[in-house]
């Protein structure tokens, strides 16, 4: 369960570049719910994700993940509650470490790390099984350095990494945006499978309206640091990308000038 109450985030406070990135956002996501978030550039979607992940600490408001108040907790302190896949495949894993070392790191997410060998036989076997499920042939390359993999392979491994340790919430930050269409589809199908199987509470930020409507149970649109649209259930099932754009225009009473919203 995720609950944010009246979150305000200001960047560059007191400078000429001051920007209200989030302006009183409140949102509750139930246990096991899959929410997609859309919005134009600068709408505040990345900031919202950052607030949940701990990268951005809000100037006002409350953030609760599971049953823990994490408002003032940094990224590392709340990592046990939050699993995450980044937009840039290079950010989510260590290129200079091997695949299995990356998996070992992720397997202890949010837990204490002692002097136990990171790659015991038992763990290796477990990693091999989990990576084999991807059907990418990577189970025979576990000792390879992560930076030898393609962007798509890295994102696929990152998804596995996100589920090795338990978490209250899975955050996906445009995690297919940097991939070619084929690999993007593969990673999205994998995401769907993992989220469904594990009943993960998930928030996915995406640039693609198509993705936003095709996946998950609920779609939120952000604009100017506020939630301007929040659809779920039957009204969402019949919703088309065109409707979404029309709705967006009506709510905002302005013309849509951002091509990025139309793509996909």
């Amino acid at each position: 369960m995720i609950s944010v109450k009246n979150i305000k985030v200001v960047f560059g406070k007191g400078t000429p570049l001051q920007k209200q990135a989030l302006n009183g956002v409140s949102l509750t996501i139930e246990q096991g719910s899959f929410v997609t978030v859309i919005g134009s550039n600068g709408a505040g979607k990345s900031t919202l994700l950052g607030v949940l992940a701990g990268d951005v600490l809000p100037s006002e408001g409350e953030v609760t993940i599971g049953h823990t108040d994490v408002t003032r907790k940094g990224t590392a302190a709340r990592a046990g509650l939050v699993a995450r896949v980044f937009q840039d495949p290079l950010t989510g894993s260590c290129g200079t470490l091997s695949i299995e070392e990356n998996l070992a790191l992720a397997a202890r997410r949010g837990e204490s790390r002692g002097l136990t060998p990171a790659l015991g036989a038992k763990r290796r076997e477990h990693f091999r099984e989990r990576i084999a499920e991807l059907n990418l042939g990577l189970e025979n390359r576990l000792g390879d350095r992560m930076d030898l993999l393609s962007g798509g392979q890295r994102q696929a491994v990152s998804l596995v990494m996100a589920t090795l340790a338990g978490s209250e919430v899975l955050l996906l930050d445009e995690h297919t945006a940097a991939l070619d269409p084929g690999m993007a589809e593969f990673v999205m199908n994998l995401t769907q499978k993992i989220v469904t199987e594990r009943k993960l509470t998930t928030m996915m930020v995406t640039h693609s309206m198509r993705q936003a409507l095709d996946y998950g149970h609920r779609t939120i649109m952000l604009h100017g640091g506020e939630i301007v649209l929040d659809v779920a259930g039957d009204s969402r099932k019949t919703l088309q990308v065109e409707d979404l754009i029309a709705m967006f225009r009506r709510i905002r009473g302005q013309t849509l000038d951002d091509d990025a919203l139309l793509i996909g």
């Binding site: 990592a79 260590c94 790191l105 002097l115 060998p117 790659l119």
Partner: protein
């Protein structure tokens, strides 16, 4: 080069292997360019020398030297993590401050350990000649240190440290407190370097406040020579590379200085070091260009 000169070079290489491993931890594992070592090496020598003269057990004196080195590393980490001073500059500040600290510790620029008991005393006169005893003794300590550092870096805790240097953002997302890792890594790194300084004092019979000048370059030289020879093939190989690099560096220096043909003298040491490191840095690049 005489046999004594050769084994002397090996011994010095092994002593500086501690520096090399420390530098490897800071520069390669944590990606923290740390010049503190120029101060923590003589700090280790000063602390151990003063304590031995005061009648303290030489092993204990070396242990205290390690604690002092760890503290020096933590100061650099504090300046960087807490006060946001650029890592390189933070380490230079600690290094400069340590010069005064070392003078205070010794009360004078150098302390001699003539006839004092050292860690090596029990092994002298055991039938083996002294110039064999010293490298053998130091070599065993190096082996122990390498195994410990290797096991650490391949543990869960060590992986957290490696991730901190490789991708701090990812490390934090995995719950690694990267600030704490920098404190811990800098402490371990400088403790190793200070132990090298303690060994230096005990094998050479003196501690000198100027003996730290250029420690970082020597340590880097060893790391780079090791990498040039072995490439990047895992932690254990990298650590072995540091040790071998350190020994080879000393032998190369000894050869350069003992060859009359080159007309070099002892005071040319720093220039030869700089030239050697430059060659070790440029060589892999030239080789790559040749292959391409």
């Amino acid at each position: 080069m005489s046999q004594i000169a050769f084994w002397g070079a090996v011994e010095l290489g092994l002593v500086y292997a501690f520096v090399a491993v420390g530098v490897f931890l800071a520069f390669r594992v944590l990606d923290f360019p740390d010049l503190t070592v120029d101060g923590s090496f003589p700090l280790g020598a000063a602390v151990t020398a003063v304590l031995i003269i005061a009648g303290v057990n030489p092993w204990l004196a070396a242990a205290v030297a390690m604690v002092a080195g760890a503290a020096a590393g933590m100061v650099t980490a504090l300046l960087n993590v807490r006060f946001r001073i650029l890592n390189l500059l933070a380490s230079i500040l600690t290094m400069i401050a340590l010069f005064s600290v070392n003078l205070r510790v010794m009360g004078k620029p150098n302390v001699a350990l003539i006839n004092a008991d050292t860690m090596l005393s029990p092994f002298y006169g055991s039938g083996l000649r002294d110039f064999y005893v010293r490298p053998l003794f130091v070599g065993i300590l190096v082996l122990v240190a390498v195994v410990i550092v290797w096991r650490f870096l391949e543990s869960d805790a060590g992986l957290a440290m490696r991730a901190t240097g490789a991708n701090a953002r990812m490390a934090r997302a995995q719950g690694v407190d990267t600030s704490r890792q920098i404190y811990l890594g800098m402490a371990i790194s400088n403790a190793l370097v200070a132990f090298g300084g303690a060994l230096f004092a005990q094998t050479n019979g003196f501690a000198d406040v100027t003996s730290g000048v250029g420690t970082i370059v020597v340590g880097l030289a060893a790391v780079i020579i090791g990498e040039t020879l072995f490439g990047a093939r895992g932690i254990l190989i990298a650590l072995a590379g540091c040790v071998l690099g350190s020994i080879l560096y000393r032998i190369a220096i000894q050869l350069a200085l003992s060859t009359d043909m080159l007309g070099l003298q002892a005071s040319d040491l720093n220039f030869v070091t700089a030239a050697l490191v430059t060659v070790a840095l440029v060589l892999p690049r030239l080789r790559r260009r040749g292959a391409a």
